[in-house]
């Protein structure tokens, strides 16, 4: 669900666009360290993956379903800088080719999902890794899941703060915050569960592809044994 045009006033939209442009500029610079000259094709394909994963519907019951937002998932899989770029491109394509998400609200949407969503997820993930000090890849899916749980309500809180600054109607802020937090904590729990399960399934086959677990993956050196096999 993206913020449309007209939800926040023009100054707030322009300010968030400036913040988004700065963050994306920095990410363009730093993503090279995560992916070197493979950045463009790989980040492009990861962006398609995020886009396609957002279309997978997860049944919640009573005929309704939800879908992945993918900020924390992308951060754990490909690193936060590349994830910021991927989510930004996904939002730009959704806004310009699918008319989903406002044109002037693109900056706001990038700040909420590609910056706050991705970086909250990543910082929580890294913080937990420092705390737990895992020796194997086994706990990484759980940490990624917790990171995803936290990232969704934090992005919702950021939106509430933006609305308090640049919203058009005087809504009682305490109630708006409570409603946004309550609802998005539920969404976050779903996001966390899916992220945990998805990271787990990737680690089971290609742990070397998970940026947040690469240093933990067991290395198998090539062994050359001489002599007749027993």
């Amino acid at each position: 669900m993206h913020v449309p045009d007209g939800f926040l006033d023009a100054p707030t939209s322009l300010a968030t666009a400036a913040v988004a442009a700065g963050a994306v500029g920095l990410a363009l610079n730093r993503a090279r360290r995560e992916l070197d000259d493979r950045t463009a094709p790989l980040a492009g394909l990861v962006a398609v993956f995020v886009f396609a994963a957002q279309m997978l519907n997860f049944p919640v019951g009573a005929g309704t379903s939800g879908h992945l937002l993918g900020g924390a998932l992308a951060a754990v899989l490909v690193g936060p800088w590349t994830a910021t770029l991927c989510l930004t491109v996904v939002l730009a394509v959704q806004s310009l080719l699918f008319a989903d998400g406002g044109i002037t609200a693109l900056g706001t949407n990038v700040v909420l999902m590609a910056v706050v969503g991705v970086w909250t997820g990543w910082l929580v993930f890294v913080g937990l890794r420092r705390l737990v000090r895992p020796t194997g890849v086994g706990v990484v899916p759980a940490l990624a899941g917790v990171a995803a749980v936290v990232s969704v309500p934090v992005a919702a809180l950021t939106f509430t703060a933006l609305y308090a600054v640049g919203g058009h109607a005087p809504i009682p802020l305490a109630e708006l915050t409570a409603a946004m937090l309550g609802w998005h904590t539920l969404i976050g729990l779903g996001e966390g569960a899916i992220t945990c399960l998805a990271v787990g399934s990737i680690i089971a086959t290609r742990p070397d592809l998970v940026h947040g677990a690469r240093d933990l993956a067991a290395r198998h050196e090539l062994e050359i044994r001489t002599g007749a096999p027993a």
């Binding site: 939800f7 492009g44 394509v93």
Partner: protein, 253 residues
Amino acid sequence: MGSGHGSHLHVEGDSPVHRLPAHTKLVGLVVFVLLVVALPREAHLLRLTMLLVALGVVAATRVPARHVLGRLVVEVPFVVFALLLPFIATGPRRTLGPLTVSRDGLDAGLALLVTATTSVLMAIAFATTTSSRDLVRALQHLRVPDRLVQILAFMVRYLGVVGSQAQRMKVARDSRAFRPRSLGSWPVLASSAGSLFIRSYERGERVHLAMLSRGYSGRMPVTDPLRADAADWARALLPAVVATVTLVVGYAG
């Protein structure tokens, strides 16, 4: 909210909007929407004029109305919010038939409804008349950082490929009698997402190798630059000019 992005919005055609160079359309779109967002909250009449301008542009694309209406569903969650606003907002009250609502909330709800609809209509007019290749060329022309344009170019290039891969995985699940009904189906769906990631990533690696073998050096050559003359710019900026006049009238009047 599960709004499907199943198909591209682009519709082939030869309308005046289709023929405009993509970068002029993009500039026209951004300026127009920014001006509509900047209208004062109470300027409902001016905002309705903007809605008419947007409807005029959509009509000029000669895209079937059914196609346009189908896309308007992305708005639904915010229509709900706009309808709730008069009841949840604070401030002075006014009566509206049998109801007592917040005056500020009513204004804000109306403004949101019309602004969002206007801008979605304009975005649909842009998306239906601009191919993804032209969008990439437009962003290149407008000096968006090259790396970002490249990522976007790869994304739109492989959208269909990965999309149909996801579709094939769905067929594989369905043919094994998988019915996603409850929370119990989550592990299956999540591991589908996991395989989709591995397949996308590995495809990216292969694409990169294929590009290297064709002499990729980190930059994409511009083979066919977009060109626009003054008449193109005048046509593309017409809605924005109308919006500017309206804005001036709105602040002066």
